[in-house]
Amino acid sequence: MKSKPVEKKRKVRDEESDSESDDELANGLFDGVLEASEDEEDYIPSDEIDDVDSESEVSEGSEDAEEEEEEEEGDDDALLSDDIPSDDEMGKLSKDAEELEITEPGVDPKPKHQEEEDRNYKVVKDANGGERYVYDEIDPVYDSDDSDAQGPVNTIGNIPLSFYDSYPHIGYDINGKKIMRPATGDALQSLLDTIEVPKGWTGLTDVNTGNPLNLTQEELELVRRVQHGLVPDEGYDPYPDTVEWFTSKQETMPLSAAPEPKRRFLPSKNEAKQVMKLVRAIREGRILPYKPPEEREREEEEKEEVQFDIWQDEEPAAPNPMHIPAPKLPPPGYEMSYNPPEEYLPTEEEREEWEKTDPEDREKEFLPQKFNSLRKVPAWGTLVKERFERCMDLYLAPRVRKNRLNIDPNSLLPKLPSPAELKPFPTVVQTIFRGHEGTVRSIAIDPTGVALATGGSDGTVRVWELLTGRQVWSVKLSSEDPVYTVRWRPTKDAFVLAASAGEDVFLMVPPHSSVTPTLDQASRDVLAAGFGYATNGQQPATAPGKEPAGKWARPGTKLEDAGVLVRVTVRSAVKVITWHRRGDHFATVSPEGQRSSVAIHTLSKHLTQIPFRKLHGLAQTVVFHPLKPLFFVATMRTVRCYDLQKVELVKIVQPGAKWISSLDIHSGGDHLIVGSYDRRLLWHDLDLSNRPHKTMRFHPKAIRAVRFHKGGLPLFADASDDGTLQIFYGKVPNDQLESPTIVPVKQLKGHKVVNQVGVVDIDWHPREPWCVSAGADGTARLWM
């Protein structure tokens, strides 16, 4: 625009002046805008009245401002200022510049302005023709005290504008003139719509004037600066050069004459402390030079990943004996292959069954599959889960060391002798002895092994030829009581049979083909010897009024003719008779007999004694030790061993059975077998323990009788209510340390079960491996 080089200097100043006169011009610009925007005639008079000069000045200013704008920015403004002649402007500018040349920078040009116009009022004529002072409007420049006065102020006070809604004006200015309502409505609206939104348009309405409130260029600039976080005032320098007042200039005269204090020359302790604090923090790594967080993280990771040989100084330590290492997973087998041999593939049924079973119950957790090519193998669906389960096992499963016996199970089995080695033992029934009515209660083979005696429920005692089964002799001992037991006297010097019926024990000498007259006489003498003893008055005197333990008498002529020679009557029914090996004593048991249930009888003296004042439990059966003066009494639960010489209890054997039924002792005297009604057969080694050495439970029903073979064969047998006999091979070794060999060898079946009673009694032949049994079916059988 300004092309002349001569005016360069001026131009610079020109710009300066522009910037300085901004404040002054600001107002004018505002007015100008107002003027431009309003076409109403009403308002013009007020302006005319105001001042023509000021108006021209204002318009000049506005033009000036617009000029500036044009230089900087858009074309729109250029359009506006097009009609203004540039020469005119130049002249004004030069005039301004001249004025400004005098002024000092930084000082407001306002005072000059006032100087130029001395009077700030005009004298006009009022309605009456008198003088009236009309004051100029105060132009509140920067320095002005009046900061409120801004343009035509509406003086209606603090009341809502709506009060003036029905008037054409909206209030009064400071001079009492009406301020007319600016034009609104459709005409203007449409006009505004057609043109573009002007710069600084806010869309608000000025309360005081009712005009639209638009922002000026300065205000826009201000907003922009605030928005950008700059200092709002453009000219303000927030960082001015320091004005050094004291430091750099050497003052000729000091401000204070006081001598420098000592502390000025000593290092500060506090500072040293602070510094040391930092130093320490740096040394310890608490304060680190700044690094971006990512870089720091990476570094730290690297630091953590530092590897070294952790086993450099390894020492093999003995493993903790309590530590159980986790068992390794078993290696995969053939069936786990992706392409297994075809026999491993499940059949249709197996697959179905596998799918049917609950996943927890499955034996294998997978079904073998076959893929004919590796590319067809899919991912294993439960791999993560399986691994997780392994993890759980590793930390949560209790570990127990279990000894797995990796041996052949057959090595556990005892070495049994073959059945051939165990022979001989009875296998088949040889003879059946029929004749008894009802149960055969007891059976016994005589010591020579030719005669068999049986006693039955019909009250008879019968003697049979053993091998032929012919009945030799029979006697009816009682009509109401059954014969509970028959036992031969165990020596061969006499042929004496003892039988019990009810409370009576009969001793008899049955006639037999093998009995020679001398033997017969000897037997009768054995029985008769006691009568002489009794008559000698050696019978111990019993307390008067007290029943004697046993009454020895002759049974009467009828029985005596038959061969029954002696009758011993005890207090209650006798169930068991046991002979001492020498044949001089026999013991009887009458289980209901309370304290007198066990009685020992001496044949040579016809004497009956009751050895126990008191018994623990009901006596079931008794047996004499074959070698020593010991006497075994079986009560329901226990077997008690008494020394007859010292009269004391030697030991209590506890078979553990609920109800002992029978008892027998091995001919060696160290082993005992016990049968019980609770189906057990118990072998006791008396030297070893009070508890059973072996418990055999082969019978489904109660055991009634047990018996060792007394003639040197290692056999024993038991009889049970299930109608069978069981024959065992029971070898007692000579060596004390060895345990006896017990082998079940044979079950003999043949007896019928009557009223849930099978075989009642059993006896062995004294020499041969034969045995006889008495059954509830009324027969006795010889097995060989």
């Binding site: 070294f308 041999p341 026999e343 930390y395 209790p398």
Partner: protein, 665 residues
Amino acid sequence: MAKIKKKGQSGQAKNYITRTQAVKKLQISLPDFRKLCIWKGIYPREPRSRKKVSKSATASTTFYYTKDIQYLQHEPLLQKFREQKVLEKKISRALGRGDVSDAARLERNAGRPDQTGKPRYTLHHVIRERYPTFIDAIRDLDDCLSMLFLFANLPSTTSVPAKMIARCERLCHEFQHYLITSHSLRKSFLSIKGIYYQANIQGEDVLWLVPYKFNQRVVGDIDFRIMGTFVEFYMTLLGFVNYRLYSSIGLKYPPKFDQTKDDKGAELAALTLEGVNLATNEETTKAITNGEGHGPDPKVQAEVDKLVKKLRTESAADKADEEMADGEEEEEEKATDAIDKFEPAAPGGDVLPQPTYSGNNPSKLFANCTLFLSRETPRQSLEFILRAFGCKRIGWDPILGEGSFTTDESDPSITHQIVDRPIVQAATTEQGDGEDNQTAQKLGPNQRYPGRIYVQPQWVWDCINDEELKSPELYAPGASLPPHLSPFVKPTQGQYDPTVPLEEQETEGEALDAAIEDAKDEVESDEENSEADNDMDVADDNDNDEEEDSDAEEDEEVEDEEDEDEDEEEVLQRQRELEAEISGKAVKSKQVDPKLKAKLEKKKALERKKKEEAEDLERAKGMLSKKKRKLFEQMQYTNKKKSTEDMKLRSKRRKLEKEKAAGKA
């Protein structure tokens, strides 16, 4: 009088402690306790008598040794846990106050493991405690490797951070590199679950499972916190093990890692091993892969050609060799350093195990081969196995990733190509145009490069398991493969073994049954044949024969009276004969040929024997004590179960073989 002992004051009650008690004693939370137990290897114990130990009636209480818990009390990690707890409290307090920046600062400092995948504490001391010697660590490596290989193949989630996966992958690759350089991989097995590998490291066998390269499905309720705790421990362990292993063969650890190569899917080739030469401080870089750059060396080429020729002639002359082998071997025997095989001269002596690696060196198995992997083959496992068994040059399709010896399928140096695609029945005219441009494949569907052996991937596995290059004919593309057998199964006496012919392992009874069945089938078919063209004359002849037969039978009857079944049968037979005579027809049924008869008799004898044995057993069992009897029965039970399983397998195989034979006929 002695002081009365109170219950629960001494003995077992003091030796054991419940989990709740333990947690209370250590004053930590249950998750922390779990972590501690996993890391320190503390596991629950089963007291001998639960009743004596537990004060409460609950059956499912977990017991630990009191000593174990006391040992945990001195654990430095406990302090770390407590610090962590304090920090978490601070953070939550800051958040409660609304002081987010403070919370963020605290958290940044915390280095929380689930954020970064790395804890601020280290598990070094724990590793040293649990594995006082290196061999101890090797022994316990099975689970570690399986776990890390699985995690290396998992997708990253919030519970499994990507960093953890990356580290797992790297550790696994490092470990694989050791196995490759030291040639300590021994066996591998393709199972349906994944690929099992077995390596022998310093005399210890290590077996682990690597899943197939698929996205792993996470099914069921899996607590990844527990898995993560294990993985954290295992990562530390494998790091140290790798260090030791690398330094044992004179390599620098960690090996150089090339991120760009790894990004391109080079996997194993992303790591570069470096030797450590302390004296000269000179690091010799070992080219581990493929000898890229020095192209087809003329020497190598010549060798390869020679080998190819050799292989071809070998495969042709294979059968002839095999026949001659027995005779020749003795002649060829020379004095070697190898261990001699001791054969027992007389039965009854103990069998002493001998090391098997004596003859051919398995680490050079593929040394003379150049392999090319088609794009459908599992590259990672194949690369690893082939490298471990001495293969230096492996090429593969570029789609399989970086790091191959060659990506050019037409490279003339390739001796073997591994393909796993079916033979396509495509017209030859169509080929060439419709190819996808992704791969470097330029050949038609069924076209082959000449002078190269095409095999299916299973060939590689069978080769390494048998330690010899198997004949590739069986493994030709499209051929139905021979069964892939597990190399980990040790044959035991009496157990079914699919490699042994059926006749050698079936029991007497089974063989008899089978023979009888065969004979019967034959007879039936014969009868059918004869029936068709029978007339009365022939029938008469039959009658005569029968009479003679029956006479002979009568004689036999006298001999074995006890055989009642036979008697009955004979009675029936007689009956039938009579009926036939009356009706005037020929007796068709029970035309028993003597062979079958003999077999039937044998079977009966066998059964009788069995019966007797069973009786004997029953008797002997009666003499056992209750405890021993139960043990015996249990053992019998398991043995029986095994044997029935084997029997089932044998019968299935018999059936299959029969079908096959029938199919051939």
